[in-house]
Structure formats: C-alpha cells, structure tokens
C-alpha cells in the first residue's frame, strides 16, 4: 500500500493552483483494484476498480471497468475502500490557548484560519485514522466565536489545505460562554473575568443583542438619508448582517434540551440559517428539529458525558435518522473523543445501520459543510481522498492501511 508517484505531489499542487480546473492530463494514473468499494453516493461495489489521476477520481466501477494502459496498479484484494472521512466539527490543529478570543463576548469577525497550525500533530493523528477533511471551529467560550474553516488534514501550507473559509459562524448556547465569568462583587471591574455574561440568560441576551445591533447597522447603512462618508464600517456587524441575509451559516452549539430549543427559536426569530452542533439532548427535541429542518452535527456517540447536566441516550442518532433529520457524526465534543470511525462504530453499536453511519462521517458531513462537490464520496471528479481499510471499517479489529489525500498517500 506504499506505492506512490513522486510526481503526484506536483500534480496536486498544480491542480490546487488551478482551483477547479479539470485534471492535468499527462499525470500518472493510479488504479485501486479488487477492493470492496463504498462510494457512499451509490451502492457498494465488490471487487471494484477505482481510477485516480491528477489528484482526482477519474472513474469508479466494477471489475469490468477498463484500466488505462501504463497505469500504476495498486492491489487491494480483500480490502475495503471508503471516501476519506469528513469530521464536520472539531477544534483540531489549533493551540488550546488560541481557540477563544476573549477580548469580547461577541467576536464574529475573527477567523480560526489565522490560528491553524498546519504542522500540528492533530492532523497527523487525524489522517492516520482516516480523516482527510475537517471543519475547524473556534472555541465555545464566546457567545459568537467567529468563523470556522474546512481544511484537508494534509498539506504543507494552509493555502494547500484550505477547502472553504468562513464555513460557518460559531454561536454557543448554554453555560460555556459564561463559565469563569463573575458578577462584580467588589474587586477590579476591568479584569477579564468580570466580563459578561454570567448566566445562560445572559448568553442568549448577548446573542440576541448582537443580531439586533446588526439589524440596526443594516438599517443605518441602507438609510437613503445617511451620509456614506460618516458611516463607519464595523467588520463584526458586516458578518452578522451577512448571517441575517442567510449568506453565512450560523453553527449553534447546544447540548441541553433548553439550549437546543433556544437555538431553533433564535434562528427563527432572526431568520438566519443554522445547524445544531453537539446536540446531546436532541432525543428530547426530535420533533422540533425535524419540523425546523435544521441539520444536527452530533458528537460524540461514545461519550456518556454530554456536559451541561445533560442526559445521554444511546438511541439519539437512530432517532435522528428515523425522523429524517439531516445529521453527521463528529468527534467534536469535549472529553477525549475516539478516532472518528470509532465514534461512528459506537453509533452502529447503538443501532444505526452501517451504511447510514458511513454516510454520517463522509457524504452527509460534506453536504452539511457545503463541500460535497469536492469530498465525501467516491465519484468521478471528486478529490481522490480515500481510505484503504484492512476490513469492514466498523469492525473494531480493522484499521486503515493507507490514507490518500488528493491521490497522495499521507498516512504513516
């Protein structure tokens, strides 16, 4: 599984430089032969053939697929190939001290992209476990914490890794943004720990106030009588205005029942597009989630501690699937999540079908992130991000034998 072409690196770089241009022709062609293929976008193919060139998937099919002459054949008999896994909610690659900009409670204009360290061991760990693409969020200590980004887990520079910037604005419900804050009882009021909010109510108020301010800002900007010369541009308000116009996805972190309900209520109140992240108590709010057609990024199935005093239920994901709520499985929550495939394995343990579980860590995740035109399935034209497994990926005795990003093996 170590076969690789040194010239592919150049091909990848070239392909990325050309953005969405069709594959650079003359490059080496790799053929993965004999594996059970899970394209996710279609039914599994036994003894399949997967053709990769120029960092992209060229063709996917059965044993009858014509193999181009001179192609490099990689024998994968007895193995299983899935798309590279997509983790739709993480904080990987960012130093813990850099996750939360605590200058203010509401920091919509900051970008996690500025804090991502491409050399972080998190990425090595992620790609060794089969994760090739991940949404990276700012932390949850701010009410509005800023923009996340979708990146590949391999690449020398951030530019090379980046799939999509501004892929969601983090909004956090519950007690996290107020934890550590204290009301002023004597002491020095300018200290950072005396900042607001100090309660769950305060958190929601900060969010609501931010969006009201953005509405006022928009109104002021569009006021025909206003002098554009005197109108100061406020980057934060610009971002929130874009959210109000549904140009930016608001990712609301909410674990407890009341926080999930608040997340849905706020989105309805201000008309922004949202999804619910973590969603530990989604099982209590399943009707509302289904009615609101709000996607859920559930993390993490193996965890029995959802925080916030929440009650964990094994059947949450099965219930989401049964009600048709769009969802993905993420490793995102606190504690020590397992590698993403094992988190999905726990969902299978709790009754989710393997096909749905695989989709929840590949194509569904990519769709929710809006990057399914690049990743999440084995289809012609998609990036050649794939994992060769020793066996059924949901068998805990299986392991990834080789992981490819844009056709290049990146696992150690």
């Amino acid at each position: 599984m170590t076969a690789r072409s040194p010239s592919l690196r150049a091909a990848v770089l070239a392909a990325l430089a050309l953005a969405a241009s069709p594959l650079a022709a003359q490059e080496a062609v790799q053929v993965f032969q004999g594996a059970r293929l899970h394209p996710v976008s279609g039914p599994a193919i036994d003894n399949g053939v997967l053709i990769v060139a120029g960092g992209r998937i060229v063709a996917v099919g059965g044993a009858d697929l014509t193999v181009p002459a001179g192609a490099q054949i990689i024998d994968c008999s007895g193995k299983v190939i899935t798309p590279g896994l997509v983790d739709a909610g993480t904080t990987m690659g960012v130093d813990a001290r850099d996750l939360n900009e605590q200058g203010e409670e509401v920091t919509p204009a900051v970008h996690i992209l500025d804090a991502i360290d491409p050399a972080s061991r998190d990425f090595v760990r992620a790609r060794n476990s089969g994760v090739t693409c991940a949404q990276i969020n700012p932390g949850n200590r701010n009410v509005i914490g800023g923009f996340g980004a979708v990146v590949k887990t391999a690449g020398d520079t951030l530019a090379e890794m980046l799939v999509m910037d501004e892929s969601g604005l983090r909004l956090t419900m519950g007690s996290e943004p107020s934890s550590g804050n204290r009301a002023i009882r004597g002491g020095r009021p300018e200290g950072i720990y005396y900042r607001r909010p100090t309660t769950r109510m305060g958190v929601v108020w900060e969010a609501r106030k931010a969006f009201y301010d953005a509405m006022a800002y928009q109104q002021q900007k569009t006021d025909p009588n206003a002098d554009p010369e005197t109108m100061a541009i406020d980057p934060g308000m610009e971002v929130l205005s874009r959210a109000l116009k549904q140009e930016v996805l608001v990712r609301t972190t909410a674990r407890a029942e009341q926080d999930i309900r608040t997340a849905l209520r706020l989105a309805e109140e201000f008309g922004y597009k949202t999804l619910v992240e973590e969603a530990t108590e989604a099982w209590r709010v399943i009707d509302d989630l289904a009615a609101a057609e709000v996607p859920v990024l559930f993390s993490a199935p193996s965890s029995m501690n959802g925080g916030e005093g929440t009650d964990v239920r094994y059947n949450t994901i099965v219930a989401l699937a049964a009600r048709g709520v769009p969802f993905a499985i993420c490793s995102g929550a606190g504690g020590a999540p397992l590698p993403l495939i094992h988190e999905a394995t726990f969902a299978v343990r709790y009754g989710l079908s393997k096909d749905v579980a695989l989709a929840a860590v590949t194509l569904r995740a990519a769709e929710i992130l809006g990057v399914d035109d690049r990743v999440g399935s084995l289809r012609a034209g998609r990036d050649a991000d794939l994992v060769v497994w020793s066996g059924d990926p949901f068998d805990p005795t299986s392991r990834p034998l080789a992981v490819y990003v844009s056709g290049e093996e990146v696992s150690e």
């Binding site: 996750l99 200590r141 005093g309 239920r313 504690g335 343990r349 805990p396």
Partner: protein, 459 residues
C-alpha cells in the same frame, strides 16, 4: 442491580465465614428480610448454545451445557446430551456462549479506594465495596463474572482485595474469595519523588522483616527459658503486630502482592525486590510504558496484568515531537509473555468494554486467542481460581455469558449472564439499559447527572 436474585436455596460453590458488619446491621434492623427475596430454587439449568467457546478445547457448534447446583455436569453437542425435561432452559441456539470474563485487578466499585495514609496493609476492600455502585451493573452487563477488587494505585501499601461477583445486595452476597491480594504501588504520589516512594516501600518491607526477626528472637529466648525451666508458659504466645502481619505474610509468600509498576523506570526496583525477598509472590500491574522493559519482565517471571490504559497509547517523542501509537500487548505477546488485561472503571471510556479492549489488541496484530485468554484463563490462573473459573468444563463453576454475536464485534451485546448456575443478568430485564436506549421514559428525577459536570467538556 438486575431484578433476579441469588437463590438462598442453591448451595454456593464458595462459602465464607468472616463476620459482616453490614449484614449484621441489616439483620439487626430487619432489613435483611426485605432484601433477601428468595426466588424459586434453580437446581438445574440447561444452556443451549449456537457456538460454545469453552476455552478448554475447540469451539462446539450446537452445544448443550448441563448445570446442577451451580456447577457444570455435562458439556457436549446437542445430540449427545439429553436435557432433563424439568430443567430451566436458556435458549441461546443462535448465540455465542463463553465463560464470563475475569478481572485480575480492578479498583472499581469502591467508595474510596485510595487511602490517604501511605502504609495501610491492614485495610481491606471488604469495608469499601459498594454493592450498589453502577460499576457492578456495568460489569455484569459486559459479561464480567469474577472480579478481584483491590485498592487503587495511589497508596504505597493500600490494603487487601477480595474476589467478588458483580451480583448481590451485600458484600457477603458478592463474595467469591474474601482473601484477595495485597496492593502495593510504586507510583510516586502525594508530592513524593520516585526515590522517596521506592525508599518508603523498602522501609515498609524491612520493618516487616525486622518484626519477623524480633518474633524469632523472642521465640528462641522463650525456648531457652523453657528448657531451663525458667518460664511457666507452655506455649510460645508471641505474635506479629496485626498491623504488620499482612506485609510479613507478603515477604513470606503467604500472601500475594499486586504491585503497580507505573513505568519501565520502576522495573529495576522490582528486580531488586525479588532478589531481596525471594519468597515474595508478586503480580505486576503494569502502566503503559512498561513494555519497554519486556525482556526484563520476562526474566523476572511474575504474572502480569496490564492496566486499562496499557492496551493502546500514544507516545510522544520529547525531542522530535513525533507521536507513535504503541500496543503494549503486542510487544508482550511477541515476547512470549502471558498477560491479563483490565477494563476502565470510568463510565465514559470505551476502555470499559471488554470487546473494545480485545479488539484494540487484535487491530494491532495480537492473536484473537491471546486476546480472549487475557480476560479468561490467564486472570483466573493469576487469581488462583482457575479450578473453578475461566473455562467451561465439567466440574467447574457454571459462570457463563451468552452473547448476541462475536465477542470482539462492536454490535454484540450480552444477552444473558449465568453466575454459578443462576441467570444473574437478562438484557430484556435490564431497566437501566432500556432507559439509555430511550425505550422507557425515565422515572421522574432519574438520569440527570446534576450540576457537578456543568463545567466539563469545554473547549
């Protein structure tokens, strides 16, 4: 606990005699009558197994196990054995039957397993086991049938363990062997340096040796006096201080020590201890990095139990920052060293599951048989209960589990657990599992973990 109760009519394979404070209290207050609800005596039980792993021979398809008074009286294929018409039947014809798991070392189920005083070999977990701890529910739900519950790793000489089954309302009900091993730890805690910890252990052992020598001196003196007719005492009545007795027994080899070795750096000290106290019997409980001393550990020859975190862990190179995932069981298996494994007692770790721990090893290339033995025959032998547990054979105690599928598959759940001939766990009667699966609404006030964890999980 599961609703089924131990039958008071069935004769327990192990009897015990020491007085139990709790049971006395219950009897005195009349609570015992309320708790001890006797079920119909189940003298005979038949288990029909689709696949039977006895761990004493090849797997048997379509097998029957005959159980009488808590012991196995016959095992064979369905066409060889005739089941008594009136016996209760566990029909597992589509399932997998194997012995219950044996844990050679766990600090689970204790209320306070780490005494603050460093040198307390005279304590016993008998006074710390909390039968209502959900750890035991979780254990039986995961097919664990025999556990050596012993103090944690934070105390130098932490006290004695006991072997229990995860079933019963009182410690008395749960007891398999009231005399377990003595816990020792080389973990430098409470601000101690490693030097001080090692020194403290040597001192404690030396103390016991001195106490023993002093007793011998007194005996010789008495003998002299007796021979000279200078004493009335016909028998020597000196004895070792009760507080030191367990350590004296330890160095004499009359009591097995379970020594926690946090890292490879402490292994040379184990070698020194062996040299100095050759009669001492030890079981080594190993932290993750101990695999680096595998050769040395093989020479020493002590039985080995791997801590739950020692199955797979990430090692970071302090200079290059490179991370390597290591599977210590693979290293031990390759070196031909036998080992038992542990489960996490944390309710929030995948390591609490036997299937996870075993599958993790197999993922790293350990043989399935080695993985399965690390929770059955090896720990049973370490605990000295292998004549009764760890395999399914005629004459042995009928403690077995019925699994819905392969023991290493994530999708497999425990359907039944039979402990000493009695159905002690039935998945369909596991109320807590039903709540966790959202099949029944939680009772009012049930389930919330309260406010204490509100701050956890922040990023």
């Amino acid at each position: 606990m599961t609703p089924a109760r131990r039958s008071s009519a069935a004769s327990p394979p192990h009897s015990r005699t020491f007085p139990m404070t709790l049971s006395r209290l219950l009897k005195a207050t009349g609570l015992a009558a309320l708790l001890a609800v006797p079920s119909a005596a189940q003298d005979q039980l038949v288990v029909k197994a689709g696949t039977l792993h006895t761990f004493a021979g090849d797997p048997i398809q379509n097998a029957v196990i005959l159980i009488e008074n808590g012991r196995i009286t016959a095992i064979g294929s369905a066409d060889e054995i005739e089941a008594p018409w009136n016996a209760k039947v566990v029909d597992a014809t589509n399932m997998v039957v194997l012995p219950t798991w044996v844990l050679a070392h766990t600090p689970g189920g204790l209320s306070g397993g780490n005494e603050n005083m460093a040198n307390v070999p005279f304590l016993t977990v008998q006074d710390a086991i909390d039968p209502s701890d959900t750890f035991f529910d979780e254990a039986i739900r995961n097919g664990v049938g025999t556990l050596h519950v012993i103090p944690g790793n934070s105390t130098l000489l932490g006290g004695r363990g006991m072997v229990v089954r995860p079933y019963g309302k009182t410690v008395e009900d749960m007891t398999v062997r009231d005399a377990g091993g003595l816990k020792l730890s080389l973990q430098a805690d409470r601000g101690n340096s490693r030097m001080a910890q090692i020194r403290a252990l040597r001192n404690a052992l030396k103390d016991a040796q001195d106490a023993k020598a002093e007793l011998e001196r007194q005996r010789t003196e008495w003998q002299k006096e007796k021979d000279a007719g200078a004493t009335e005492k016909k028998e020597f009545d000196g004895e070792i201080d009760e507080l030191k007795k367990p350590v004296v027994d330890l160095i004499d080899g009359a009591l097995t020590g379970y020594l926690f070795v946090p890292s490879a750096a402490e292994v040379p000290e184990v070698a020194r201890l062996k040299e100095q106290y050759p009669a001492m019997k030890l079981v080594l409980v190993l932290g993750p990095s101990c695999y680096k001393a595998a050769d040395r550990l093989k020479e020493l020859g002590y039985p080995i139990v791997l801590e739950d975190e020692s199955i797979e862990y990430v090692e970071r190179d302090p200079e290059t920052g490179d991370e390597t995932t290591v599977c210590p069981p693979k290293v031990f298996a390759d070196a031909g060293i036998e080992f038992a494994i542990s489960l996490s007692q944390s309710g929030n770790s995948a390591r609490r599951y036997p299937w996870w721990q075993m599958a993790t090893m197999v993922r790293h290339g350990v043989d399935r048989g080695v993985a399965l033995r690390s929770l059955t025959t090896v720990p049973a032998r370490i605990l000295g209960v292998d004549a009764e547990f760890g395999t399914l054979e005629v004459g042995k105690v009928a403690s077995l589990q019925v699994l819905e599928g392969d023991p290493l598959a994530a999708t497999t759940w425990t359907r039944w657990v039979v402990l000493e001939g009695e159905v002690a766990y039935d998945k369909t009667a596991d109320k807590r599992l039903q709540v966790l699966f959202g099949e029944t609404a939680p009772a009012s006030g049930e389930g919330t973990t309260g406010g204490s964890d509100r701050q956890e999980g922040s990023r």
